[in-house]
């Protein structure tokens, strides 16, 4: 299968500026179009391992990062996220184009793919068992996720836990891991040879950068995983590493609170989430030291 890396920079730019680049990221194929240099830069740097399809292939999402018409094309240029002719968001400064692509793709999946129960969470897997890390922004989930996938865990996603109702398995959509502010430097220090996009500052989330997903995670993007642990992380400077079990009914509602489409899924959503809670052990996890966090995760026991 051809990958993005098989294209020369010029070929990449030609596709992006023209008919679009069809990229497969696990369960989804996106057609991406953009004349903006930052988008080509980000894709060239971070998407080398991902399979590409021909121009007349089927794409799940048709997205574009486009300049708006009028003056904002030239004066303090902006970028629009275009979803097949709709502009769901306000424009952003041109420099934010690559993060906008990543947020936009997450939005496409989380607002449409209702065959899955979708939780806002990171998902990592090791030894056939997956840990789900639901977390509101600021909990340190992404730092933890980025560290774990560089210490022996496979990346399924840093933002989207996709549960398949038929069998309760998790479906991967491994894409670049988004990091914010402090965690960019932390990961730069923690991961040798970390491939990071150029940080973009002054976004609504502060400074943002994306970390390339491990090649092995991308290569295994078609492999589902069985959920075993639900871990709510909380980074607290100076805190001792601790793991506290959560009663199942409480865990159920806390996960549902972090779901994109629990209510949309109706009875199926209930059954899928109940199955996940029953098959997993759920914990609150507090940490301040990444090495200790890694050791704790490595020691997690399979649920009985």
């Amino acid at each position: 299968m051809l990958t993005v890396a098989s294209l020369s920079r010029r070929q990449l730019e030609t596709r992006l500026a023209g008919p679009g680049l069809l990229v497969q990221t696990g369960a989804f194929v996106s057609r991406i179009r953009s004349p903006i240099r930052h988008v080509a830069d980000g894709i060239a740097l971070l998407y080398g391992d991902y399979p590409i399809h021909g121009a007349d292939g089927f794409a799940d999402f048709h997205v574009g990062l486009q300049y708006p018409g009028g003056l904002r094309r030239w004066y303090q240029p902006q970028v629009n996220f275009d979803l097949d002719g709709q502009l769901p968001f306000e424009p952003l400064p041109e420099a934010h184009a690559f993060p906008m692509l990543e947020w936009g793709l997450n939005w496409c999946i989380s607002t449409r793919a209702h065959a899955y129960l979708m939780i806002h969470a990171a998902v990592v897997e090791r030894g056939g068992l997956a840990a789900i890390l639901p977390a509101p922004p600021g909990s340190g989930k992404s730092t933890l996720c980025a560290a774990l996938v560089n210490r022996g865990w496979r990346l399924l996603s840093d933002e989207l836990a996709l549960f398949r109702p038929e069998d309760g398995l998790l479906v991967p959509v491994p894409r670049p891991v988004s990091l914010k502010n402090r965690s960019i430097d932390v990961i730069r220090g923690y991961v040798a040879d970390a491939v990071l996009s150029r940080p973009v500052s002054n976004t609504t989330k502060g400074t943002v950068a994306h970390l390339k997903a491990p090649a092995d995670s991308v290569a295994r993007a078609h492999e589902t995983a069985r959920p075993a642990w639900i871990v709510f992380p909380k980074y607290e400077a100076g805190a001792a590493t601790s793991l506290t079990p959560i009663p199942r009914a409480r865990a159920f509602f806390r996960v549902a609170d972090n779901a994109f489409n629990y209510s949309h899924m109706g009875a199926r959503g209930f059954a899928t989430l109940a199955g996940a809670i029953e098959g997993c052990t759920s914990y609150d996890f507090r940490y301040s030291n990444l090495d200790e966090a890694m050791a704790l995760f490595a020691a997690l026991e399979a649920p009985r």
Binding site: R248, A249, R250, I277, E278
Partner: protein, 95 residues
């Protein structure tokens, strides 16, 4: 409420639920809501799933399953019935 009042499960409620460690979660087939219920509530619902029952019979179910003083029994029964009705899980049969 009258002791002879007959209650039933709302038609359409299939009682999809899980009971974990003394807490019960239940999916409401009519409203699409998900509820966190105590043991008393689920016992009443399961009793009604077997068939309509009078208030007196339901009070007896609670008395058999839980440690309730007679004074508490009435209040507990009525409160539960009222709450479950408000949640569209049960209603009364017309006489």
């Amino acid at each position: 409420m009258a002791a002879s009042e007959t209650w039933r499960l709302r038609p359409g409620q299939t009682l999809q639920y899980r009971q974990w460690d003394g807490e019960c979660i239940l999916y409401n087939d009519l409203s699409g809501d998900t509820h966190l219920l105590g043991d008393g509530a689920i016992e009443l619902l399961l009793a009604l799933r077997r068939g309509p029952a009078t208030r007196a019979a339901l009070a007896a179910v609670l008395q058999a399953e839980f440690d309730l003083a007679p004074a508490e029994l009435d209040l507990e029964t009525d409160t539960l019935l009222h709450d479950l009705q408000h949640l569209n899980l049960i209603d009364t049969l017309a006489c």
